[in-house]
Amino acid sequence: MERVLMKGNEALAEGAILAGCRGFFGYPITPSSEIAEYMARKMPKIGGVFVQAESELAAINMVYGGASTGARVMTASSSPGLSLKQEGISFISEAELPCLIVNVSRGGPGLGGIQPAQSDYFQATRGGGHGDYHTIVLAPSGSQEMMDFAMEAFELADKYRIPVMIMAEGTLGNIMEPILMREPVTKFSEKPWATTGCRGRKPNIVNTLHLGNEELESRNHQLFNKYQIIKENEKRADAFLVEDAEIVVVAFGIMSRIVKKAVIEARKKGVKAGLVRPVTLWPFPDEHIRTAAKNARLFLSVEISMGQMIQDIQLALAGRVPVEFYGRIGFTPNPEEILQEIMRLAEREGL
């Protein structure tokens, strides 16, 4: 396989193309714009569609339209842009249309800044818009995973008829790393529900309106049941040195790589530290958290936010082990300060 140096945003775009994505509907916003720019260059050459919309609302609704036909389509934006897309994401979730939505995230609330951040965790994992729904959320940690997760996202989306979100901090969009180029996907699942022209068959209908009481309730039950199946099958996390860990640090995305270094340093100093890195943010890998809690005296959630994932860790542990938090926003915590925090907690707990 070919080894190439690529920017995370470009790796993601190329991954989507390799996965058969032939429709990109975008609207520029820092730090995600390179995805749209890459697609603008690439799509016309491969017979795909690149449309630059006049707004985020337009872009997500183009995805809604494109996904209705069963085509592999996507959009990419960054935090304030994702806020604008929420109405569309709610509709797409209800209509059960597979697609990829990328958030190359930055700090908020409000205008915030353009520094990398993870403070859209709640928005991403709790549905984000109105109504009872979830999207699958994948959190890559490097350029290779930007490509690989884009490819996996389309598979998951088709498998469950669900929008899949990739949440990558702005850092991941903009750093360059060597990656192994993947082979293009050639096998696609049938989509008998898609609106592809109904000559010779019954028309397919894409609809999100359910005015009847029973109809609305049963519709929500159907979605809920699907979400249960996804929770059973798709939780993913990486564990590092958790077997005997007394302090378990939890971090996702770029943060997990930074924490890993701190964990290694803590081990050198005799502190039994470990790392759980959620790969899926929804469904949250609560079982991986509980497994890592075997010898744990303490959990530490490290986030580029004021503390959001910590709630999912607390839910997973249900009070069995205390959970501490270390986070910054505007800055990305570095290995030294995380190590310092681990050592401070170890000393406090007499570990």
Binding site: I29, T30, S33, A40, R41, E54
Partner: protein
């Protein structure tokens, strides 16, 4: 305006957009904004509303501001709505006798924030009839996020999302005629202008817009050396060429009556405007002569139509 325009006298007024802002050297936006604000009478105060844009991130790096007047920014798509709210609040305070003196409401937004994502809130504000001026500084692409196309980008222009290559040859669509769309809102004053010469056209139209009651709209051409790819010292030259080739005609529509503000002594061929700009470089390659021809045809058609309006 009662007094005859005199640039020297105008620039002696206290500045309202101070130096030290972070706009690029050779950027048209700074010239446009200071030119518009200069039209305010010295004793009048203004509320400057700004959409997300190069202008916003360069002139208002909170807590630093380049404005001597009040300033408000909220998001990209809603500057006209924000201005509507501020104007409505001011009127409420005025009714209760809690504010005095003239306050003028001026919105600045780029073409992205006006032609595209901000269009809905602009149209709403104009229709409701708020006493405000909406100024679009039109640099014909999303310069702030890295030069992506907008619906104001002219046909054939290369941007990062309308790249020049083996398949694409720049933007496929013509520029949206926003000024005419605003005329269709039947508002008291609409004008198209550009910072050329001694800025008299810009100044006069800004003055008319600010001191005409009700919603007024200015569309101001604002060249961008980064996005248009020309040497930054050529700002004045490029702007003048846009006007003299009739690519960007100067006109105003007062209570539905069209006036032509400027007729070039000699209408220059459109390629004089295109040639100095990197975004049109591919149009001068062998085999692409048709592009220049079609660009010229388009400009001629638009110009003829404008003359029909203004001579009616």
């Amino acid at each position: 305006m009662s007094k005859i325009y005199n640039l020297k006298r105008e620039v002696e007024k206290p500045v309202r957009l101070t130096g030290g802002h972070r706009l690029c050297a050779g950027c048209g936006a700074g010239v446009v904004v200071s030119g518009v604000l200069r039209a305010l009478d010295k004793e009048d105060r203004a509320v400057v509303v700004n959409a997300t844009s190069c202008l916003e991130v360069s002139t208002f790096m909170y807590p630093y501001t380049a404005y001597m007047d009040s300033y408000i920014h909220s998001a990209f798509e809603n500057s006209a709505a924000t201005c509507s709210g501020v104007e409505a609040a001011y009127n409420a305070l005025k009714r209760r006798g809690k504010v005095d003196g003239a306050v003028k409401f001026i919105t600045f937004a780029g073409d992205g924030g006006t032609y595209d994502i901000g269009f809905q809130s602009l149209s709403g504000a104009m229709e409701r009839g708020h006493d405000m001026v909406y100024v679009c500084y039109d640099n014909e692409a999303y310069m702030n996020t890295g030069i992506q196309r907008s619906s104001s980008t002219p046909r054939f222009a290369g941007t990062t999302t309308t790249p020049i290559g083996s398949v694409g040859q720049g933007k496929k669509q013509n520029k949206k005629d926003l000024t005419e769309i605003l005329v269709a809102h039947n508002i008291p004053y609409v004008a198209q202008t550009a910072p050329i010469g001694n800025f008299k056209d810009l100044h006069t139209k800004a003055y008319n817009a600010i001191y005409t009651e009700g919603p007024c709209f200015l569309n101001v051409l604002s060249p961008c050396p980064r996005g248009w790819d020309y040497p930054m010292a050529k700002l004045a030259e490029i702007t003048k060429l846009a006007v003299d080739t009739c690519v960007w005609p100067l006109f105003e529509v007062e209570e539905g009556v069209w006036h032509l503000s400027y007729t070039p002594k000699k209408k220059l061929p459109v390629e004089d405007f295109l040639r100095p700009q990197g975004r049109f470089r591919h149009m001068f390659q062998k085999g692409n002569e048709w592009m220049i021809k079609e660009a010229q045809q388009y400009v001629d058609q638009k110009w003829e139509r404008l003359l029909e309006h203004t001579s009616a």
